[in-house]
């Protein structure tokens, strides 16, 4: 059955040419450093720290986000940092296609592969790498530098391997991500209707 449609306030969201839907209530620092793949939804109060980058001038890709992604309400996307050879520095982050990030989740990963679903209230530690087809349950804390192999379910604090996902996860996750985008529809205000009539 077709799932319920999620209506959003049309005035709150900006829709880009490539179909990205970005809430005006989100905080996107230095958007020039952020690349969005298209058809990605960024919900309200989401914070994306494009300003945290390696020292240097001009723009660079600090955060790359693929297509059909969802950054849930109040989530924080922050590039990872470390001290290497005595120098403190931020490193870029890559989020691939079909990645859903839950509400109030903090992501400081180095890389998130395709078809990953991260639950609500999670912390994805610095430089962690999540491979393709993974699921992070709600309230999980992934320690820094963790590598999560494909087809894994992780949960708990600290996040541990819980179970394996079936091979068909790709299809399910892809459908889920696409359907969510299709269900995310602008609610046309009644006033608008009246004026157009």
């Amino acid at each position: 059955m077709e799932e319920e449609i999620i209506y959003y306030d049309k005035s709150e969201y900006i829709e880009t040419d490539s179909g990205n839907k970005i809430s005006r209530k989100s905080v996107i620092s230095v958007p020039q450093n952020i690349v969005l793949g298209g058809k990605t939804i960024i919900q309200q109060n989401c914070i994306i720290r494009g300003d945290l980058r390696r020292k240097g001038s001009g723009y660079a890709v600090v955060i790359g986000i693929g297509k059909y992604c969802l950054l849930g309400e109040d989530s924080i996307i922050r590039p990872p940092y470390k001290i290497y050879k005595g120098v403190f520095s931020y490193y870029p982050m890559k989020i691939s296609d079909y990645v859903h990030i839950g509400q109030r989740t903090i992501v400081e990963a180095a890389r998130i592969g395709q078809y990953v679903i991260i639950g609500n209230d999670c912390v994805i530690g610095r430089f962690s790498v999540i491979k393709e087809y993974c699921r992070i349950l709600d309230n999980t804390v992934i320690p820094p530098n963790t590598v999560i192999p494909s087809f894994s379910v992780y949960g708990g604090n600290p996040g541990r391997f819980i179970s394996e996902l079936p091979e068909s996860s790709q299809i399910i996750f892809e459908q889920k991500a696409k359907q969510y985008y299709d269900r995310f529809i602008a609610k046309i205000e009644e006033d608008d209707k009246k004026t157009s009539n």
Partner: protein, 610 residues
Amino acid sequence: MEHLNKNNNKNNIPFPYVYYQCTCQVVSKIRRDIFFSTNQFPLKEPVESEINSTTISHFPPTHFNHYRLKSIYNLYFCPSCCEIHCPDCVKNDFLCFYCPNCLFDVPQASVVSEQNRCIRNCFECPVCFNVLTVVSQKDVLPTSASTSSITDEQNSYYLACNVCQWKSLEIDLSFDKSTGLYLQLQKKESVLPHEVEFQNLRNYYDKCLRSNSNMNSINTKRLSALFGNSSSLLISPSIISHIPDLKTKLILAKRENNQKSDEYNKTNDNQDSTILMEDELEMIRLKNLENMEELTSLEQKLNQPEDQPKFLSHLRIHRIPLRVKLQTKCNKCEKILIKQEIQKMKKPSNIRFAIKCFARDYIPNIFIQQLIPNKPLYKDMPVQVLLKFVNPLSQEIQVSLTTLPNKQNENENKSKPKIDTDIKKSAPKSPMSPIFGRRTSSLMASPKARKRGPSLKISTAPIIPTKIKEEQYKKSEGVSSCNVTVLAKNFKIPAYDPLKEFENETEPTEQKQVGIFEKKKNSVSIVVEVRPTGNVNDRVEFPILVTYSFVNDQKEVDNETPISPNYAELSHGVQKFVSFWTVIGIGKIVEENIDNNKDNKNKENKNKKK
């Protein structure tokens, strides 16, 4: 009423759903039937040829095994057997071993020699079991004059846990280089008592093996006499004779034992005394313990089974255990159903499937498109369910649907369920028209049928079960809570054409068949009318038998293309039938006059209080 509630508890699949019954359910039901008719153990396996669309039609899913139903995404389809398989009825094989942390593929040969653990720089924290990271001493020290004085040669590395802040320095472990840690660690580990003991034993038996080479000719009778009632009692001589390697080893072990037993026991004696001393020291330490935090937890002890240390300071770091990738095979014909592509000695990070036989690429995909009206379900208020059938095959398929007979009248039904014995007796010959021959109902049938006595020929005549079975089924029977009417029982679904996927919908000009809501590309939506007849809170769910058939019209069977389903056994122009049962659940019956669930729940609670 009691059993009804039980069934409801068991079956709590959230609504709405379309679930499928795997073929193995039919197999197990046939086995059970054979048992009930013969009362013989071991359970007889049904003959392979007996599993066809006709037999499947006899075994609708009952409420007893709803929890065994699967979503289409969890099912496989074997193209050579033309059968649905689920995770419970496939075989799994090791495909490759890999480290979950560095993701490197480990060759099978070194998996055994390296104790199933990663041989690179992957270690787990002995305290909290998370991954340890290499830290350079130089980076940690505050940037002061002392840091700059440390040259790279003087620098040392240690392992630290990001979670519990444990450092390998706590067990006096540091490394000179940041790479090849396992090799550096191996030297330190090789002097540990259990490692020494293992090496001693290994050397000892190696020596035994080497010193004997002409013992192979010994005959098994003498061998059994030799072993008589001493060691290896459990190994029968005939087995020994079949394993030449084992035979020599046993002989050698026996002989060497007699000759050199003193030599080896001596070292054991020494070790025993040291262990005793250590035990005493440990007791003293435990008695004087001031801080409980020095002690290990049970989990930590079990993670180090060789010595199960009592103190945190005795924990050692362990390499990360390997994980395995499996491949999935048909349990009947051994055809590989799922196999990932593996590039040897490379990071198996990019997942691609070399072979994938998911059921969704072979059998009609069924979705609940819509409920009309989309409102809560009331008793006796018919709703229309739009079921969408999607054909994933590149051939046109003919679909035929069968439902269980509806209750004519509720009172009549309660006393005597409606049975269609005549149809049952004349077992359907063409799977295209799977006449409803539900054996479950036939159990309550006329005494005539029962008198015919047990029969094992499943494919021709259904077994007549004993009374035990009858009672079982009666219980499951009572739960049917709706009448189902399908108008379009036979329809065709056009082939799936990937080229047309992005084309616009073209409304077909052909006239509409009764009961068909719409046709789109490779899908057909039909109308199913459902009238809930049960009580408030009953689940409205009903089984449908789906039989689909297609003609293999591919002139050349191309074995090389894994994309298009390839029915290898089918020659050109042969029609093939495949059947499976689905269960469609649309919701629970709610009490009338109440429009939303909240009110309903409140009411429920009130009722309970009363």
